[in-house]
C-alpha cells in the first residue's frame, strides 16, 4: 500500500473528533441505561424493592429512552459520519459544521429529556403513549434529538451529493450509499413522531389544548416506531455486508445485492406500523392486513442478507481449503473480537427475526401481544444483534479514531464480553419469551399479583431474567472498561478501518439504484397507499379525546 492510499484510509482528525463526541454520549447512555435495566430485572424477580422513592416505571422510561432512542441514535450518527468520511472522503468544513450543530441539538435534547425523567416528571415509557402525559420539556427534549438527527442527516446528504457531483456516472461507495439510505429512511420516518409531538403532545402538555386523540397519536408513533427498528438494524447490516468480509479476509458476495437489499428496506420498512397496533380498535382490519403483507415484504431483504453472509463465509472458507458441507465454518477467525462479536449478533438475529414474523402475524399477535415475549424479542434484535455489532465496530473504530490499537489483552476481554452477553441474554431473553407465552405481561412493576396461581408460574422465569440481567450488566461494565481503554489508554498505533471489496469488481452496480426520485417516489406512494384511508377513518370517527394522566 503506498503512502497516498494509507493517508486516504485514515479518517481525518477533525472528523474523528466528531465521531468520538457521538461515541462518548452513546457509551455514557449505555452505562446509565444498562444500570436501569439491571435494577428492573431485580425488581421483577420479586426479591428487591427500589430505594429512595425511585419508581419502577421511571427506571423503565430511563432504560428505554436512553438506550433505544439516545444511545442508538448517537452511535449510529457517529458511525455513519465515519463511514462516509472513510469512503467518500473527508467531510467539508460546511458538512462538519452542520454535523456538529446536529450533535449539540441532540445532546441538549437528551439532557432535557433525561432530567425530566430523573425528576419523575416523565415516567411515560419510551413510547410516551397518550394519555400518559409528561412534562412539556420532555417532549421539547425529544424534538431536539430528532431535529438534531435531521441536521446531522443533512450533513450526510450533502457529503453524498458532493461525491456524486465529483464522480458523475459512478455508483457511490457502498458504505456511503448505505448510510444515505438509512438517513433518508430516518427522515421520512421521523416525520410521524415529530408530527404527534409537535401538533398533539406538546400543545396538550402545555395546556393549550385539553384533550388528545389517542389513536391518532399512537398511529403516528408507530408510523415512526417500526422504521426505527430498521434505523437500528441497517448500520449493523452495513458492518455485516461491508466490514466483516474484510475482517475475515474475504470479499463482499455482491455489491449490487447489498444495495438492492437496502433499497428494499427503504421501501418496505415504513408503511408497516399498523402491525404494532393489530389489537387496537378504530383501525379497519383490511388495512391492518395490508400492512401485515407489507411487513412480510421486509423479510425478503433480511433473507437476502442471510444468504449473502453465508455465501461470503463459505467462499472465504473454501478459498482457504475448506471442504465438506460446513468445513468453511472452521476457517473463520473465531479468535478475533472484531469478527466474533458481530457474528454472535448475526446468530441472535435468527431467533430474533423468527419472533418478529410471529409478532407481525395477525392471529399470533393475540398470543404474544403486550406480554413479556415482546420484550424478549427486541432484546434479541436491538439489544443483541444490533448492539453486539455496534460493540464489534467500536473495538476497531474507537482506536482508529484515537490513534491507538486494540491490544491482544483487550481483544480477549472483548471476546469474554461477547460470550457473557450471549449467556446473559440467553437466560434473560429466553425466560422472557417463555414467560410471555405463559401470559406474563410486559411493562408491569408487579410480580406476584396478590398471590395469583397463574402469576406464581412466572416467578422462576423472572428469577432467570434477573440472573441474565446481572450477567449482562457485568458485560456492560467490561464494554465500558474496554471503551475507556481504547479511547484514552491503549498503546498508540494504527488500527485499520476495514472496508471490504466486492468479489466481482468488474460488476458495476446498476445506476438505477441511485435514482432517488424513483425510490423516494415509490416510498411516498406506498406510505400514501397504506396510511391515507386509515388516517381519514381515524380523523372522521374521532372521539372526544382524552385528558392527560400522570399515573406515577
Amino acid at each position: 500500500m503506498n503512502a497516498f492510499t494509507e493517508k486516504v484510509n485514515k479518517i481525518d482528525r477533525r472528523d474523528a473528533k466528531l465521531g468520538m463526541a457521538h461515541f462518548y454520549v452513546a457509551f455514557i447512555g449505555l452505562f446509565l441505561g444498562g444500570m436501569a435495566g439491571l435494577l428492573q430485572t431485580l425488581v421483577r424477580s420479586g426479591q428487591f424493592t427500589l430505594p429512595a422513592g425511585i419508581g419502577y416505571y421511571q427506571l423503565l422510561t430511563l432504560h428505554g429512552v436512553v438506550l433505544a432512542l439516545v444511545m442508538t441514535t448517537f452511535f449510529i450518527m457517529g458511525f455513519q459520519f465515519m463511514a462516509v468520511s472513510r469512503t467518500a472522503g473527508t467531510l467539508t468544513n460546511k458538512q462538519r459544521k452542520t454535523a456538529w450543530v446536529g450533535f449539540w441539538l441532540m445532546t441538549i435534547g437528551t439532557v432535557m429529556a433525561a432530567v425530566m425523567i430523573l425528576l419523575s416528571e416523565a415516567s411515560v415509557l419510551y413510547t410516551f403513549y397518550a394519555p400518559l402525559q409528561a412534562h412539556a420539556l420532555f417532549y421539547v427534549g425529544l424534538t431536539l434529538v430528532i431535529v438534531g438527527s435531521w441536521t446531522g442527516g443533512g450533513a450526510i446528504i450533502m457529503a453524498y451529493v458532493g461525491w456524486r457531483k465529483k464522480h458523475p456516472g459512478q455508483p457511490s461507495p457502498l458504505l456511503t450509499f448505505m448510510a444515505l439510505v438509512n438517513t433518508l429512511m430516518w427522515i421520512v420516518a421521523t416525520i410521524g413522531v415529530a408530527s404527534t409531538v409537535l401538533f398533539q403532545l406538546l400543545p396538550w402538555s402545555l395546556g393549550l389544548v385539553e384533550r388528545v386523540d389517542v389513536a391518532i397519536s399512537r398511529t403516528l408513533f408507530w408510523y415512526f416506531g417500526h422504521p426505527l427498528v430498521y434505523f437500528w438494524l441497517l448500520p449493523a447490516y452495513m458492518a455485516w455486508y461491508v466490514i466483516v468480509p474484510k475482517i475475515i479476509g474475504g470479499k463482499i458476495f455482491s455489491d449490487s445485492l447489498a444495495r438492492l437489499s437496502f433499497i428494499l428496506f427503504l421501501l418496505f420498512s415504513i408503511p408497516v406500523g399498523l402491525h404494532h397496533q393489530l389489537v387496537e380498535p378504530g383501525i379497519d382490519p383490511a388495512w391492518k392486513f395490508l400492512q401485515v403483507i407489507l411487513t412480510f415484504m421486509v423479510i425478503v431483504p433480511s433473507l437476502m442478507t442471510a444468504f449473502s453472509l453465508f455465501a461470503t463465509f463459505e467462499t472465504f472458507g473454501r478459498s482457504q481449503g475448506a471442504t465438506g458441507l460446513f468445513g468453511w465454518l472452521k476457517k473463520l477467525p473465531w479468535g478475533d473480537a472484531r469478527f466474533l462479536i458481530p457474528f454472535i449478533g448475526m446468530l441472535s438475529f435468527i431467533p430474533g427475526g423468527a419472533g418478529g414474523i410471529i409478532n407481525a402475524s395477525n392471529q399470533m399477535n393475540q398470543v404474544v401481544h403486550n406480554t413479556i415475549w415482546v420484550t424478549g424479542h427486541f432484546h434479541l434484535t436491538v439489544a443483541t444483534a444490533v448492539i453486539l455489532t455496534f460493540f464489534g465496530i467500536s473495538y476497531w473504530l474507537i482506536p482508529h479514531l484515537t490513534g491507538r490499537i486494540l491490544t491482544k489483552a483487550m481483544n480477549k476481554l472483548a471476546i469474554l464480553q461477547g460470550i457473557l452477553w450471549a449467556i446473559g441474554m440467553t437466560f434473560m431473553s429466553g425466560a422472557m419469551h417463555a414467560a410471555g407465552l405463559l401470559g406474563a405481561p410486559r411493562r408491569s412493576a408487579f410480580s406476584e399479583y396478590g398471590g395469583a396461581a397463574q402469576a406464581a408460574e412466572w416467578i422462576p422465569y423472572q428469577i432467570a431474567q434477573a440472573v441474565g440481567g446481572s450477567i449482562l450488566f457485568i458485560a456492560i461494565i467490561l464494554v465500558i472498561y474496554i471503551f475507556i481503554n481504547l479511547a484514552f489508554f491503549a498503546p498508540k498505533g494504527e488500527e485499520e478501518f476495514p472496508v471490504g471489496e466486492a468479489a466481482n469488481t468488474a460488476e458495476k452496480a446498476p445506476m438505477i439504484l441511485e435514482n432517488w426520485k424513483l425510490w423516494l417516489g415509490i416510498v411516498v406512494l406506498l406510505i400514501a397507499f397504506a396510511y391515507t384511508i386509515p388516517f381519514i377513518d381515524l380523523i372522521e370517527n374521532a372521539p372526544i379525546g382524552s385528558k392527560g394522566y400522570k399515573l406515577w
Binding site: 433473507l303 463459505e314 467462499t315 423468527a354 414474523i357 402475524s361 393475540q366 398470543v367 404474544v368
Partner: protein, 49 residues
C-alpha cells in the same frame, strides 16, 4: 506382467472451490427454523382462541 496397483482406480474427489452448497444448506436450515417456530406459536393460538 500384471501390475495390480495400476488397475486400482483411485477416486479423487475434486471439490469445486466456488461451491455454495454449505450456503444452500444453511438457508434451508434457517427457513426450517422460521417455519417451525411460526407453526409452534400458531398451534398455541389454535389451542387458546
Amino acid at each position: 506382467m500384471a501390475q495390480p496397483g495400476l488397475e486400482k482406480r483411485t477416486k479423487t474427489k475434486v471439490e469445486d472451490s466456488s461451491s455454495l452448497k454449505g450456503t444452500l444448506a444453511s438457508v434451508f436450515l434457517l427457513g426450517f427454523f422460521l417455519i417451525i417456530t411460526w407453526v409452534g406459536v400458531f398451534l398455541l393460538f389454535l389451542n387458546r382462541f
